[in-house]
């Protein structure tokens, strides 16, 4: 997140994520979430995986479906997930979006596609040391 106060709330990033990852048009299926900060005049909150080096979501996973990713963040193995929602609750920024339809978490895979559709450069895709930030 580079310039959150510049967000105009167009949701193009969310549509980009759902388009690439899920091949659907949806605001529910996106690893990046734009929310109102409480009344449009106050601007927006953009929630996306911070690629923690020691990710709480992975630590909360009882089956090893989420494992830390070299360089930060996590890798998700859908076949091992039992849908306990532990990861969803463990992420205090709310970046583990819950896919109600499939009963699975939506985990950012750090592809950076969303950043190509931000008209105001609110989000950028960059590598910072060991930590990968979107």
């Amino acid at each position: 997140m580079t310039n959150i106060e510049r967000c105009i709330g167009c949701y193009s990033c969310m549509f980009a994520c759902s388009r690439l990852r899920f091949r659907v048009v949806s605001l529910a299926k996106s690893a990046i979430q734009v929310k109102s900060a409480g009344g449009i005049e106050r601007g927006f909150v953009v929630v996306v995986c911070r690629a923690c080096v020691d990710p709480p979501c992975a630590k909360s996973c009882p089956t090893g479906a989420l494992v830390p990713r070299p360089g930060g963040g996590v890798i998700f193995d859908e076949s091992k997930c039992v849908g306990c929602k532990g990861c969803h609750e463990a992420c205090i920024v709310g970046a583990v979006v819950w896919d109600e339809e499939r009963g699975l978490p939506i985990i950012c895979n750090y592809c950076g596609f969303c950043t190509k559709f931000c008209p105001h450069n609110v989000i950028a895709f960059e590598s910072v040391g060991r930590e990968l930030l979107v």
């Binding site: 105009i8 709330g9 167009c10 949701y11 193009s12 549509f15 759902s18 388009r19 690439l20 899920f22 091949r23 659907v24 048009v25 949806s26 605001l27 529910a28 299926k29 734009v34 929310k35 109102s36 409480g38 009344g39 449009i40 005049e41 601007g43 927006f44 109600e100 559709f117 008209p119 105001h120």
Partner: protein, 590 residues
């Protein structure tokens, strides 16, 4: 085929407190959506001669096949019988409304009947609830209504909350519906129709998805349109200064209606220009859902309300039209003044253009002695001299404070019919005039356009082209008809009209193809003509005739940049329009 959720029409009956969903593939396959589908639903649902304030008058919202799928397909079309003009009511708004309706699983929503007590309707996917709004009724500001519903309704950030102000409750015939605080179904009185149904608000949110036939092709076309929108100059003016950019150029060419169009140049235009507002007051730009442009300009205004550095800070949206109507038309030459008046008018839920034109007439009528302190309840309007006079006047209109203000609340034509001064009561087809005294094309466009709006056929652009290279009246009319047909294609998709430079017909065809809709440019234009014709038929059915239009003398007396107009010339151009648009059989002989 396109995603079938678009075919779902949600019918809500406020009298019975019931709802049902019907699949209307027939309508969407033929007319795409938006304007095209809404006019057919209006024909079906609105009985001939219905009182606009009776339960019989339906409220229709429609989106289209591009909604949710492509950038700039961000608008919702509303249709109803207008309590202001007595014929077609059509108004468009963006905000979160269009994508919310589509992702809730609908292509259109029809609201019929009337509730006995104040209610609001909450739609979340397939859950539809009619809820008590007693506590919201009479609330001083439409902003406050949004603040309450924001806390109790689902879908934060992605939902739409449409609501009316006290003007709508009191059936002011040009009351609007406020959407997401800063966007509006502004024109022709949708807010009053809400009020007549005791419908205070409508909250819509959804979590559904839209399926696409050929996803690969869709994603490709998406990227092309997105890039064109953000990386080229086609749309930059809407983002940079916004529509307020128009103030200075229109003033320079002598087309900025000032002091009830007694003048077309405003000596204080610089003070209310887009440039000045951007430099001194602009604090944030915002977008409708799925629009990467962000034309919504929000100003911040700090007002001292007591000694000792006591301040309140207002966030106020501004655009060209409110600046014209609540600025130059009233002779208000300070940005602070205009912003304060916009904030008041929005909060009351009044249409800015109609309110400004009505108050401009009232000012002139007061100066000419047609009305006195008795009628105005002591207010002494004197152009820009005192903004507070206009703030109070707007409040009194919204509350229909006495017989005079009640007449103002019925529109400037009603007021002038009662108190005199029709020659300077500035309506076209019963609708208060937008701010472009550019020449014959604009005026003929306002008079003939199905919404009597600058957005119907954009005659002001044609006039400006004619300024650069002279044009015959025939050519102007030809361009008006062509533009109106094209715009009815865009508003059926539904694409924002600001994106008209991007969504050329061949781009529209290309965007529709991955959705399984194959239509050539010619077929699209043919559909646009049919939609226009259907709207004209509804207007004619409800008593509108282009041959019986009142043309206020002021439009003729005040010269345009293209010279002084004559009534004969305008009437002749109207005749040409009817023929050219192929509507002679609809409207009958002159």
């Amino acid at each position: 085929m396109t995603d079938p959720s678009l075919y779902n029409v949600l019918y809500i009956d406020l009298t019975e407190g019931t709802y049902e969903v019907q699949e209307r593939r027939d309508l969407f396959e033929k007319y795409l959506g938006g304007t095209g589908v809404a006019i057919r639903l209006l024909e079906e649902e609105c009985p001939k001669g219905a009182d606009p304030f009776s339960p019989e008058n339906p409220i229709i919202f429609a989106v289209g096949p591009l909604t949710g799928l492509y950038p700039l397909a961000s608008k919702t079309v509303a249709m109803f019988k207008s309590p202001l003009t007595g014929n077609l009511g059509e108004s468009h708004a963006g905000g979160r409304s269009a994508v919310a309706i589509r992702l809730a699983g609908y292509g259109a929503i029809v609201i019929k009947g009337a509730s006995k007590r104040p209610v609001y309707v909450s739609i979340f996917n397939d859950q539809v609830r009619i809820k008590d709004a007693t506590t919201l009724w009479g609330m001083r500001s439409s902003y406050a209504v949004g603040r309450v519903l924001r806390e109790v309704e689902p879908g934060a950030g992605k939902r739409t909350i449409m609501r009316i102000g006290v003007a709508g409750e009191n059936l002011v015939r040009y009351a609007n519906v406020v959407v997401e605080s800063y966007r509006h179904f502004g024109r022709l009185g949708l807010g009053a129709v809400f009020g007549s149904k005791r419908l205070k608000a409508l909250a819509i949110a959804g979590t559904r998805r839209v399926e696409v036939d050929d996803f690969k092709a869709y994603a490709k076309v998406y990227e092309e349109i997105y890039k064109e929108a953000v990386r080229t100059e086609v749309m930059s003016k809407y983002h940079v200064l916004g529509t307020a950019e128009n103030v200075l150029p229109l003033n320079a060419m002598g087309a900025l209606p000032t002091r009830n169009l007694t003048q077309t140049k405003f000596e204080l235009a610089e003070n209310i220009s887009g440039e000045l507002l951007a430099e001194k007051f602009l604090v944030r730009k915002m977008a409708c859902t799925h629009c990467p442009i962000g034309c919504i300009h929000l100003a911040s205004l700090r007002i001292a309300f007591a000694p000792g550095h006591e301040y309140e800070t207002l966030i106020i949206p501004y655009d060209y039209e409110p600046i014209y109507a609540l600025g130059s038309m009233l002779g208000i030459g300070s940005a602070e003044g205009v912003l304060r008046l916009i904030e008041k008018v929005d909060g009351l839920g009044l249409d800015a253009i109609s309110t400004g034109v009505v108050m401009a007439w009232a000012t002139e009528a007061y100066q000419r002695g047609l009305i006195t302190d008795k009628e105005t309840m002591g207010l002494r309007p004197n152009w820009g001299e005192d903004v507070d006079v206009y703030i109070k006047m707007a409040e009194r209109i919204a509350r229909r404070a006495n017989e005079f203000y009640s007449a103002l609340a019925d529109g400037v034509e009603v007021a002038a019919s009662k108190y005199g001064g029709l020659d300077f009561a500035l309506t076209c087809g019963g609708n208060e005039v937008p701010g472009y005294h550019t020449g014959p094309a604009a005026l003929v466009g306002f008079l003939t356009g199905s919404r009597h709006s600058h957005l119907d056929s954009a005659g002001y652009s044609i006039d400006q082209r004619a300024l650069r290279a002279p044009m015959t009246d025939e050519e102007m009319v030809r361009q008006l008809v062509e533009e109106e047909r094209f715009r009815n294609v865009l508003t059926s998709l539904v694409v924002c009209l600001f994106a008209r430079g991007i969504y050329k017909l061949e781009v529209v065809s290309k965007a529709l193809e991955p959705l399984g809709i194959v239509l050539s440019s010619e077929e699209l234009l043919k559909m646009g003509s049919e939609v226009l014709r259907a709207k004209a038929s509804f207007k004619a059915r409800e008593g509108y005739s282009p041959h019986k239009l009142r043309i206020a003398k002021r439009f003729i007396e005040t010269p345009t940049p293209l010279g002084k107009l004559t009534e004969e010339r305008i009437r002749n151009m109207i005749k040409m329009y009817v023929e050219r648009a192929g509507l002679s059989d609809v409207y009958g002989p002159p």
